[in-house]
């Protein structure tokens, strides 16, 4: 009595094995399922979080496109570094405190802006970062700096919306002594 598995046996004649084909529709469905499994696969450790290096590189590229004037890129904003205290009304309106210097934004900030991250370079280490909330977009907007004091240079200013998307950026600036 022939085995029910005989068709998969390695003892079959060569010409029978060559005749085995895969139903194209089945193959397509199989490939689709495998692709879905592959797409759903998340390697250990990534946990759906952005890779910090790739995220930074992609954001640098976005800033670069903004500098080159591409229309769909984050917008470059003009900013001046000013001493603290010269703008009490704006300061009170924005509810900001402390600090010995600030960045005065000369252009209109995108309406979706929520916060700014200001960076100051540190020799041989990661840059010093300070996050500044932007509660009021009424010009002129001042970004009050506390950690980054006036004797520290600024390497970049990035402005994000409520979905953490980069919407604008500012210039680098030397110490304001």
């Amino acid at each position: 009595m022939p085995s029910s598995k005989s068709s998969n046996s390695g003892s079959e004649p060569q010409q029978n094995r060559m005749a085995i084909t895969i139903d194209p529709k089945f193959a397509d469905r199989l490939m689709a399922v495998l692709e879905r499994i592959g797409a759903a696969y998340v390697p250990d450790g990534s946990d759906g979080k952005p890779d910090p290096t790739r995220e930074r590189t992609a954001r640098d590229y976005d800033v670069l496109r903004g500098l080159l004037g591409r229309t769909d890129a984050p917008r470059p904003l003009r900013m001046n570094r000013v001493p603290s205290g010269g703008y009490p009304q704006a300061k009170a309106r924005q509810g900001q405190t402390g600090g010995d210097n600030a960045l005065k934004v000369l252009d209109v900030i995108p309406s979706t802006a929520e916060c700014a991250i200001v960076e100051s370079p540190v020799q041989g280490s990661d840059p010093l970062r300070e996050e500044v909330e932007i509660p009021d977009l009424t010009p002129p907007v001042f970004l009050e700096l506390e950690t980054i004091t006036k004797d520290k240079p600024i390497s970049r200013v990035e402005i994000f919306d409520d979905k953490s998307r980069l919407v604008a950026f500012g210039p680098s600036a030397g110490p304001s002594l």
Partner: protein, 431 residues
């Protein structure tokens, strides 16, 4: 450069034509301001600030003192192109000019020669028919900015008795940076005959990056391997982000060698500005395009129609060259800024920021560069890959070599035209 300003005109895109109505002296002075503003760009990448120009001090070395700069205030008012506004509201903030490759790719279309011939017709006679006042303003600005010597002592002063022909000077810069010639010959009025070497290859010593194309093709190939395997977790995966980083470093070093001490920085600013002006002329249906009945849906077709009016033909792959210029400029700046000099950073060229997440703008642009580069040059980057279902061992055909064109090839003309960048063609010359 000038397109940066034009992008701020309203409404977009038709407002871009307002820039042609600005006085050419203001536009020329604006280049001075744009040069001086370069040090305030934010710090990007791993290289020291300004090193992408070959020297951190090249801007200060060549800029005008601030007081003189204020005396030369351009005062461009984009809302009122004939007006003047004080410097507090100047439209120059943070900007970086495009990479030299932008000028090379735009000039490879043959646009400079075609616009030059149109200008000759406009200023010498009436063979182009009745022209609008706006077109005559464009012609005046084009003649002043592109076809005469730049103002004395300006940052764009890269024409002199030492290098009297800007066409040859630009070819010299392209050859040194990329080891590439323009695909069309010099017009007879500029061609200096008799020498075994073309004039733009004389006196450069060993300072030409003749292996640029080879490194660039290899980089795009490696990026594509990474792109193909971005979700591959089980099969053979030839992706090597460290090697991609090495290739980026090699190109960074290669281009940096030509920029040592700040060489070619002023030339790059001026050439990019000039070719950007040409690009802007055909970017939309400008007054010139309308007057010469050359309206179309893309710059390449407008250029072809303008060329017809003066008996010239642009490069066969102009469409790809126009579309490639901006993203390739950004990517090469990124490489020269050192954005991709480590393996994890180089992986950002083909991997999204989140595993299996949406593609970043960088991913999208790099993929587009590969498509356009292989279509423009005829160099296949996206090789055939994978196996059709049910046919083990067989190979799927890759995508077609050439990008789809809206214009049907005439009967009897092969779809694959000669390479636009590497081979000599008839673009920019009389047909």
């Amino acid at each position: 450069m000038f397109r940066y300003l034009a992008n701020q005109c309203t409404p977009q895109p038709e407002g871009k034509s307002k820039l042609f109505l600005v006085h050419p002296l203001q536009l020329s002075r604006w280049l001075e301001v744009a040069w001086a503003a370069a040090p305030s760009v934010p710090v990007l990448g791993t290289d020291p600030a300004g090193s992408q120009l070959g020297s951190g001090s090249v801007i200060q070395d060549f800029d005008i003192p601030e007081t003189l700069l204020l005396d030369l205030e351009p005062g461009i008012d984009l809302a009122n192109p004939g007006g003047f506004i004080p410097h507090e509201d100047r439209h120059t903030n943070l900007l970086l000019w495009d990479h030299m490759v932008y000028a090379y790719l735009i000039e490879s279309t043959g646009i400079y020669e075609i616009i030059g011939q149109i200008l000759v017709r406009i200023v010498r006679g009436e063979t182009l028919g009745k022209l609008s006042p706006e077109t005559l303003q464009w012609a005046r600005a084009t003649e002043e900015l592109l076809f005469r010597s730049p103002p004395l002592f300006s940052i764009g002063g890269v024409e002199s008795r030492a290098r009297p022909d800007l066409r040859i000077a630009r070819r010299n810069a392209y050859w040194r940076m990329f080891g590439l010639d323009l695909p069309h010959p010099l017009p007879p009025s500029s061609a200096a005959g008799g020498d075994a070497q073309p004039p733009w290859k004389l006196d450069i010593g060993n300072g030409a990056n003749t292996s640029f194309t080879q490194r660039w093709n290899e980089l795009l190939t490696q990026i594509w391997i990474g792109y193909e395997n971005k979700v591959n977790q089980v099969g053979t995966n030839a992706t090597d982000a460290e090697y991609v980083a090495l290739l980026c470093q090699a190109i960074d070093d290669m281009l940096g060698n030509r920029r040592q001490g700040g060489l070619l920085a002023r030339e790059e600013l001026y050439y990019v500005a000039a070719l950007g002006w040409c690009h802007l002329t055909v970017e939309i249906d400008t007054p010139l395009v309308r007057d010469l009945q050359a309206t179309a849906t893309n710059p390449a077709e407008r250029l072809a129609k303008l060329g017809e009016r003066v008996g010239m033909a642009p490069a066969p792959r102009s469409r790809e060259l126009f579309e490639l210029a901006e993203p390739m400029s950004a990517l090469l700046w990124g490489i020269e800024l050192g954005l991709f000099n480590t393996g994890p950073a180089a992986a950002a060229l083909f991997l999204p920021t989140v595993f299996n997440g949406p593609a970043s703008k960088l991913n999208i642009e790099v993929n587009r560069i590969i498509d356009l580069w292989q279509s423009a040059t005829g160099t296949r980057i996206k090789t055939a890959t994978g196996s059709p279902a049910g046919v083990p061992g067989a190979r799927l055909a890759g995508q077609p070599l050439r990008a789809p064109s809206p214009v049907s090839a005439p009967v009897g003309v092969p779809a694959a035209a000669p390479a636009a960048v590497t081979a000599t063609s008839s673009n920019g010359s009389r047909s």
